[in-house]
């Protein structure tokens, strides 16, 4: 009965019950959603933390980057300079590992993929030799007596000496010209200098400048072209041509020479994978004195080459530089012991061992190694070795398939030691290892022959090759900061790249949702507490009358409590359960909508961005949502309601006691006022005498105007920051290899560089083109055979480069370091690189083209150059000195070795590679090829290969020029998206999206985009928040006005009762409230100005004032609509 009546009496207070039921329901619903969202975000982020792996790859950007087998001293120095302990101590670094690799021979494995050392080497048994003849210089043995009339060509200097009977020999020197500018000339005079090749005291070939007095008048030759006339007396010996080699002091004549021996290869102790025995071949004796006996079977050591002949050519080579054992051996028969035990067998075994090598890499987190982290590799079977677990390994799937291995099998490895300068200069160690396979990866050709072990099995102590210095495994949440910190402490030339598998992109919206959910939950909890307090007070605490009645009727205390609490409990319980239920049922859809909205808010354009160079994992799917947030919310609300109701019981039982004491009444200063008139007078008097009431409005106005002002000022600050960011940020971009990593020796066509420039969005474009350079002195001797040519080409390609560029920033060596310190020759600076004063080397080159020789027609220039201090010291040069180097310029299928005359105008130190020589871009081409108003070729036009003039030649070379690097600077960061559109429109490739234009462009925009996106979000928030805040402030103004006016309804009624018009009453209240609000706003604005806020603060205050006045007007008008009789009949 008690409960029934308690519930009834509560429910019958319909308005109040409905209102509080709704309020509690809504708050429980919001609490459920907030908790649910928070739990979902926290759970998903935790799951992502396990699913994603963030690593910072630390690489040195060396000349041959990204070649993994290069021996680069600078990379080694950089690796040594890395402080592993300091890196491991960076906040967010979970594991630091420097690269630990080695090679080992795997028993039973024959490598077919990847780099194969000694790929073309062979140890073969050949027979049926038959000589093959060709023309060439037959060097004459012993003392040679030249005829009286003859012509001798010096094979080194290319000078000709004419001998004639009774006449002194006539030497026709062969000069080469070098064009000196005044700045470049050693003596500071612009002139054309003549050089000859001569032997110096050390027997080295050097270029020697011909002094003025030495220059004979005539005849002489200039680069092979005869200048002057040979006297007739000397010409009788022209047909008898001898060759003279000053290095061996030998004479020779043109004649029939044995060029090789055809034979049949009948067996191979070691044969490359693409060679078979039982084939015909040509044996080239090379530098050896091999002369086979007909019918004899020989064991031969050498290399297979691919010369002009269609037949396989086998070039005899010595076993090694140190070993001069002849690489041939006559065999006594098929059972000759040399076939089982000899140096030939040893080397054959060695080559076989070398070509069965596997790459070992040690790591305690193999899944974080680049190929695994970037998902090129994954475990298809088994597991990874645990940290500290020795004797086990993971094997690549291809090798496992090739060898028929599976998990549980073992690998027998013989460790190999690499030479310092050549990874494949291998020696077989005595150390062997047996590893059990615990995991096998997928089949990936690029990783064939790879074995991964834990660090317990590592510590190989091998020389470092390649550019991968190590990797840091990062805490996903702190990846960016840790990578930045790592980059900050990295030595010059080292680049740190963060690969987070798209974690930050996927996690950002979730983090935003998580913090929003937390805020919602906290706000709802506070709101719920406030509402429940009011609920308890109204439904229990204020029920004194009921308590008095119940008490009068003799109701026991416990039952009174039950009466009071039962109704409240029913309302709170029903509302909480209903709110939780609705919240749980709608949570999925609301979460999905919130996630979409957050993802939309956090979405950034990553086209061509450096932020998108790694693989990105898909974010985890939304799983089954838990019930606990709904249960927790309902329970928390219900229990709090119950607790508060119980707490208010004592208040309800307390009897009302009048306040004791004397009230004080104020007397107006100055007595009765006669100031002002009309509505203003009454308003003024109310303001003056309103006491606390007159203080509330200005205080509220001040606080709200200040809040609005601060918000607006902050929003304006964000706008200004955004503007500043756009105005001050310099966005750069560059062409990279397809995986988005900067690579040297790219092939960026000049046309594509121009296409980039034609976007019209660039301020600068920097390009470079390099050629290996060398000095004759440094070049080893190579045989004239095709193998010799191949070896020479290989040697040349390994040489440092002479780089033509228009800005130092186009040099990869300076991409990832600070600007180098340069000591300049007086009057010189970096601008010489973009100077157009110098003409192209093409203008002074002779080359064959379409069967005809073309001549540039201009003398060779001396080009100013920038070299390293180290180079200067090594070469014993000083600033201003000149020197020469050879470079190789390929033109179609021909290579032209050109001598380039250089003058040092600057020396850099402290950055990047130290052997490059930098010359102006105009060494090769004009920058106008790329940035000129008119392209050298119109769109769709193809160059004419039969050109006859410089313009035609330039068009041809423009079409065929490939640049090594290309970087650019955007005119304005505001053009970033326009550039993305342009690049997409022009089909430039981006990482992970290869398009018809294979030039891969990467924009260095990550930091900018992240900052802009962050600020953009604030601005978006402010754009949403400010109007909402204005609305809320307006509402608050209305509420405050309403409360102020409503509290004075009787005054209002009396005014109207006395006959004051509606307008007058309205004016009276409006003026009063307006004046008070204005006062607060002005004070707030002044305060804001003093705090450093700008005019926006005043604007915000004005906006608040308008909102408040509108609210006030509405409130006064609303009171005005109330029936006057009702007003007057209200109780005081």
């Amino acid at each position: 009965m008690i409960v029934r009546n308690g519930v009834r009496s509560t429910l019958r207070a319909r308005g109040r019950s409905v209102l509080f039921t709704l309020l509690i329901l809504l708050l429980t619903l919001a609490l459920t959603l907030g908790l649910g969202m928070w739990s979902y975000c926290a759970r998903t982020l935790a799951a992502m933390d396990g699913q994603y792996t963030s690593v910072a790859l630390v690489e040195y950007m060396g000349q041959n980057y990204p070649d993994a087998d290069t021996a680069d001293d600078y990379a080694r120095q950089a690796a040594q300079a890395l402080d592993g302990d300091a890196i491991a101590a960076i906040d967010g670094v979970e594991l630091w590992e420097s690269t630990d690799q080695a090679l080992a021979a795997l028993s039973g494995y024959s490598r077919v993929d990847g780099a194969l050392p000694y790929e073309d080497y062979g140890v073969v048994v050949a027979t049926s030799f038959s000589p093959m003849y060709g023309s060439g210089i037959q060097w004459l043995e012993g003392e040679v007596t030249l005829p009286e009339a003859c012509l001798v060509m010096n094979t080194m200097s290319m000078d000709f000496t004419y001998y004639a009977p009774g006449l002194e020999p006539l030497v026709v020197p062969n000069y080469m010209t070098v064009e000196y500018t005044a700045e470049g000339s050693p003596d500071g005079v612009a002139r054309t200098a003549l050089f000859r090749y001569v032997l110096n005291e050390d027997g080295e070939t050097v270029m020697d400048e011909v002094e003025e007095g030495e220059i004979i008048e005539e005849p002489w030759m200039l680069s092979g072209e005869l200048m002057g006339t040979i006297p007739a007396a000397y010409r009788q010996g022209e047909d008898t041509l001898y060759y003279y080699d000053p290095l061996t002091d030998q004479y020779g004549v043109l004649g029939r020479v044995i060029s090789g021996y055809s034979c049949s290869i009948v067996d191979g102790l070691y044969l490359p994978s693409d060679q078979r025995d039982g084939v015909l071949a040509i044996v080239d004796p090379g530098e050896t004195d091999f002369v086979p006996q007909r019918g004899t079977r020989y064991l031969l050591h050498g290399v297979f080459t691919f010369g002009a002949s269609a037949n396989t050519t086998f070039l005899l080579t010595t076993f090694s530089e140190e070993d001069d054992t002849p690489p041939y051996l006559a065999l006594s028969g098929t059972d000759d012991p040399a076939l089982t035990e000899s140096i030939f067998v040893d080397w054959a075994d060695y080559y076989r061992a070398m070509n069965s090598y596997v790459r070992l890499e040690a790591s305690d987190q193999i899944s974080a190694l680049e190929p695994f982290q970037q998902q090129a590799l994954f475990l298809s079977e088994g597991r990874f070795p645990q940290p500290g677990e020795a004797g086990v390994c993971v094997l690549d799937g291809r090798t496992a398939g090739q060898m028929g291995l599976s998990v549980g099998d073992t690998l027998e490895l013989t460790m190999l030691s690499a030479g310092q300068e050549n990874r494949f200069d291998l020696t077989v160690d005595e150390e062997t290892r047996t590893l059990e396979i615990v995991g096998i990866t997928n089949d990936a050709q690029d990783y064939a022959g790879c074995v991964w072990v834990s660090c317990a099995e590592g510590g190989f102590g091998q020389p470092r090759f390649g550019y991968n210095l190590g990797r840091a495994v990062l805490d996903n949440a702190k990846g960016r900061q840790a990578a930045d910190a790592l980059q900050a402490m990295a030595p010059e030339g080292v680049r740190v790249t963060l690969y987070d598998q798209g974690y930050s992109t996927a996690a950002q919206p979730l983090r935003a949702m998580e913090s929003t959910a937390l805020a919602i939950t906290t706000a709802c909890a506070c709101g719920a507490l406030a509402v429940l307090l009011l609920f308890g007070y109204l439904f229990v605490g204020r029920q004194r009358e009921t308590v008095e009645v119940l008490t009068c009727l003799g109701t026991p205390r416990g039952k009174i409590r039950l009466w009071l609490v039962s109704g409240a409990v029913v309302i709170a319980g029903c509302a909480a359960v209903l709110g939780a239920l609705i919240g749980r049922l709608s949570m999925g859809r609301i979460l999905q909508a919130a996630l979409s909205a957050a993802q939309g808010l956090y979405a950034v354009d990553q086209r061509y961005s450096e932020a998108a160079i790694g693989v990105a994992q898909a974010a985890p799917e939304m799983g089954e949502l838990p019930w606990w947030p709904a249960l927790a919310a309902a329970l928390a609300v219900f229990c709090t309601a119950l607790a508060l109701c119980l707490a208010f019981l004592s208040l309800a039982r307390r009897k009302a006691v009048r306040k004791q004491g004397k009230s004080t009444v104020r007397v107006p200063k100055g007595g009765t006022s006669t100031t002002g008139q009309g509505a203003a007078r009454f308003a003024l008097l109310s303001v003056r005498r309103g006491g606390w009431r007159s203080g509330v409005v200005p205080a509220v106005a001040l606080a709200l105007a200040l809040l609005l002002g601060v918000m607006t000022s902050t929003a304006q600050g964000w706008d200004e920051q955004m503007d500043t960011l756009y105005d001050t940020t310099v966005i750069t971009g560059e062409v990279t290899s397809l995986n988005g990593r900067q690579a040297t020796n790219l092939s960026v066509s000049a046309r594509n560089a121009r296409l980039l420039w034609e976007s019209g969005l660039m301020e600068e474009i920097y390009v470079s083109k390099g050629w290996p350079y060398w000095s004759w002195v440094d070049m080893p001797e190579f045989s004239d055979t095709s193998f010799g040519m191949e070896s020479m080409n290989a040697w040349i390609s390994q040489q440092p480069q002479l780089v033509a560029l228009n800005d130092l920033s186009a040099a990869p060596a300076f991409y990832y370091g600070e600007e180098p310190q340069v000591e300049w020759l007086e009057g010189w600076d970096e601008s010489f690189l973009s100077d157009t004063e110098y003409y192209s080397i093409l203008d002074s080159m002779d080359f064959y083209f379409n069967q005809s020789q073309l001549n540039g027609g201009k003398p060779s220039l001396t080009y100013p150059c920038l070299v390293s201090q180290e180079f200067l010291e090594q070469m014993e040069l000083e600033l201003g000195d000149g020197f020469n180097r050879q470079i190789r310029i390929p033109v179609l299928s021909q290579n032209y070795n050109e001598v380039v005359s250089l003058q040092v105008v600057g020396a850099y130190s402290g950055a990047g590679g130290q052997r490059e020589i930098y010359v102006p871009l105009s060494f090769w081409c004009e920058l106008d090829w790329i940035v000129g108003e008119e392209a050298l070729l119109a769109e769709g036009e193809r160059p004419n290969s039969n050109f006859t003039d410089a313009a035609g030649r330039d068009a041809f070379f423009y079409w065929n020029t490939n640049l090594s690097t290309c970087r650019f600077t955007l005119d304005s960061a505001r053009d970033l998206n326009a550039l993305r559109d342009y690049l997409e429109g022009q089909n430039f490739t981006q990482v992970g999206k290869i398009t018809s234009n294979r030039t891969n462009v990467v924009l260095r925009d990550q930091a900018f985009v992240e900052t802009v996106a962050g600020l953009g979000r604030y601005i978006t928030f402010s754009q949403i928040l400010l109007p909402a805040l204005c609305g809320a402030v307006g509402l608050l103004g209305f509420i405050v006005s309403w409360l102020m006016v409503n509290g004075r309804r009787m005054e209002f009624a009396v005014l109207r009762g006395l006959g004051a018009s509606k307008g007058r009453v309205f004016a009276t209240f409006f003026l009063e409230q307006g004046a008070l609000a204005l006062l607060g706003c002005v004070v707030g604005s002044v305060l804001l100005t003093l705090l450093g806020g700008g005019w926006v603060g005043w604007l915000a205050a004005a906006a608040f004032l308008v909102c408040y006045l509108i609210g006030c007007a509405l409130a006064v008008a609303a009171v005005g609509c109330t029936n006057l009789m009702s007003l007057l009949s209200e109780r005081e």
């Binding site: 009444v665 104020r666 007397v667 107006p668 007595g671 009765t672 006022s673 006669t674 100031t675 002002g676 008139q677 009309g678 007078r681 009454f682 008097l685 109310s686 005498r689 309103g690 009787m1050 005054e1051 009624a1053 009396v1054 109207r1056 009762g1057 006395l1058 006959g1059 004051a1060 018009s1061 509606k1062 007058r1064 029936n1123 006057l1124 009789m1125 007057l1128 009949s1129 005081e1132």
Partner: protein
Amino acid sequence: MSVLELRDVRYTYQTQYQKVEALKGITHSFEEGLLHAIVGKSGSGKTTLLSLMAGLDLPTSGQVLCEGVPTDQMKLEQYRREKAAVIYQSFRLFPLLTVAENVMYPMELRGMKARQAKERAAALVERVGLPAEALDRYPTMLSGGEQQRVAIARALGMDTKILLADEPTGNLDTANGENIFSILQNLAHENCYCVVLVTHNPELAERADRVLELRDGLAVHERG
């Protein structure tokens, strides 16, 4: 002479739960120089009738005529300002205005200058028997009787012929009630006001010149 006349005045209003027919056709006239009393039990319609006479609303049907002109043909604000002054049981004074300013307010409403109004207010306050020191005090500093005198002074300041008083002595002790009644009686008899008094007090009603008794919205008895 009849200043205020009621002709079959009916008034109905809607509360939260029901429609209330407060007046069911009252016809009556009020004359100058007389003190009229309206009596009746709670809910009989006394205050409603007085409010209609004060021009706070118009009757649902029937007419209230002031000097022969129906109130529905006048601007009610002007009527309240110029024709009928009301004295409430709970005084209805502006708490933040001094006694003088309260009395001055209706004068200023009619366009009188503040200084002139102040002088007149002083005279009226003296006339209702309050000391001059009371002029600069807030109403809350005065006793109930004094506050009611201020309310009468404010009503007198309106220069109307009709004075409507709703239970003017209801909140006062006997002595103060007697004083206020005397003032109102004098105003009727000596200054020729038409004073209409709503009261529960049978003694006061007995002393009125004319009495109108209401029951359930109907006039059941008229005396004088």
